[in-house]
Symmetry: C2
Subunit: 385 residues, 2 copies
Amino acid sequence: MEIVASLGKAMNKFNFKIIKPHNQSRLGKLSTAHGEIDTPVFMPVGTAATVKALKVEDIKASNSQIILANTYHLMLRPGEEVINLLGGVRKFMNWPGPILTDSGGFQVMSLGKLRSINEEGVTFKSQLDGSIFNLTPEKSVKIQCLLGSTITMCFDECTTWPSTFEDAKTSMELSMRWAQRSLDSYVERKGHAIFGIIQGSTYPELRQTSSKLLQDLNFPGYAIGGLAVGEGRDLMFKTLDSTVPTIDQSKPRYLMGVGKPEDIFGAVKRGIDMFDCVLPTRSGRNGQAFTSRGEVNIKNARHTKDPRPLDINCHCNTCNNYSRGYLHHLFKANEILGLILLSDHNINFYQSMMKQIRDAIKNENFETFSDSFLTKRSSGDIEEL
Amino acid sequence: MEIVASLGKAMNKFNFKIIKPHNQSRLGKLSTAHGEIDTPVFMPVGTAATVKALKVEDIKASNSQIILANTYHLMLRPGEEVINLLGGVRKFMNWPGPILTDSGGFQVMSLGKLRSINEEGVTFKSQLDGSIFNLTPEKSVKIQCLLGSTITMCFDECTTWPSTFEDAKTSMELSMRWAQRSLDSYVERKGHAIFGIIQGSTYPELRQTSSKLLQDLNFPGYAIGGLAVGEGRDLMFKTLDSTVPTIDQSKPRYLMGVGKPEDIFGAVKRGIDMFDCVLPTRSGRNGQAFTSRGEVNIKNARHTKDPRPLDINCHCNTCNNYSRGYLHHLFKANEILGLILLSDHNINFYQSMMKQIRDAIKNENFETFSDSFLTKRSSGDIEEL
């Protein structure tokens, strides 16, 4: 089992180095206290201190270099104090590499009527037992510190979509004041960092204002939040077109919650370095596999007797050892191993895609590679036997 | 990851060698077409061509040498023809070692009113969709052949408990006629075998008659069926006391569906060589862990902040890397990884126990080891922190 060489290797300084710019895209290396990260990078989501259905060994074998955990979920259960007592998220879940924690802002937005927001912060009801919690910038940053996060995210209000210009402006301005408070309460640690989150919905003017305000605070990295929330791919790309060029190009840029392979290609093209998304694991548990020829629903009866792997071009454990027929059987029989093998394949598909993206930037043929990858993806699944 | 050296190594002949007898216990080695098996052996149950929640790599790493699959479940879904088309159970599920298939007799008994039995065989309704299936000795043996089973079991009627002497006698006699028909329809293949199953409920006289009748047919191995079906440990041991000595001592003896660690020790003491049971995996999925100090319910709130492993004496991946606190969290959060890690631990606990049992027989101190192991098991879990 191949282990990422630098996983868990202690670095002194948080540092981002652009190894090779290529048009708007960049090949980079992020150094952290808990290991190095080759960018553009995809971060598997470990919501509740586990990447669902996968063992840490599987995550390592997929060459994942950093995973994401959720402040919101972990503060509710088991609670940041418990995790801190047990050594922080990394020790808790036995993950030696870097962790990025989101601040809870996105989940709080999703709660809708269960939450109320004011200048101080957010009060909300736990989805687990209805008990009342509150989050402020100070508290979110403190929780992320207790969790032992390598990269802390500012607490923000993730603006809902669609929003009027006025609502988006008010929301963004609140997030910018919270960014200042997040930064003020952040405790510097070697090789750790806090990222600012640019908001402003799909309004270029608001995005630019937000970007400028955050850069005045000189964060070590910048995220673009409030996208992939229903606005569609075209509007997301347009927003990136107007936002990314406003960000200091020496800093890592993280597009939160994105996304499908097609989204990632378009965002890398526009200069994004970091991604996270639940899609590969969630889809895997639903029987949907990502392949070089598009998505495959393994529950479909056409796979019953198919001896072929999910993707002949994939070299993951699932594709090396299991037929579509077997995977179909596991899903029909509600066997846990089906969820495991498909989640594992999907994470491997994503990480292999990211590796190819990095190689293409290195070789200065990203656009050609992107065209050929996406054309093949849209060609549809292999013929039924 | 340690891989059992002989797993999947082709052997020419089906052969059972007693390496060391020790009182009634025996250290042995079973050679099959698909690898060698050290006895006494525990066979994890892979009902639907997957040991629930575990990857084949996990099973190998636990030093399991043979697994069991179920004719009944596999004939219903995906069907023996599909599995045969996809290379047999072993290739289907990517397990290189030997497979033992039960004949369906036990599951058919469990169906109660959904089945009817006559001299020819059994007709039953599928638990999946209500469609009608039938099983006869000839059909069960043919299905097991299509599944590619290393060790085929005779089709029998697993006698319910309690049964009157007359009912148990009638049932046993039917099973004995079915054993002859099973053997007649079995196709010899190098390194493969078919085992007879001794029935007769808890009546020594019937067990002895059954044992004699089967031995007249000269099977390569003998199972004791119809136990661990509610009769209790004492009556099970008594039945073993009267049955085991009637079996040709040069042949492997398999006690079907057993059991708890305490059952296994008592049966090894009485000369049993092979075991299978769903307990380690089923308990694992229910949050119950087997430890050297008895069972632990990881869902219990006392484990919330506990940094200690399930069992300090266990060297499995789960105990090496995860705290009780983390495992507790995974179960409270309904995370699939909890099921994986506890199932994995339990299979490792069982296989480590079997290894210690074999070592104790080899060193002629099985009784002493048994006493100390079982005394410690009954001492109860470690104190709460």
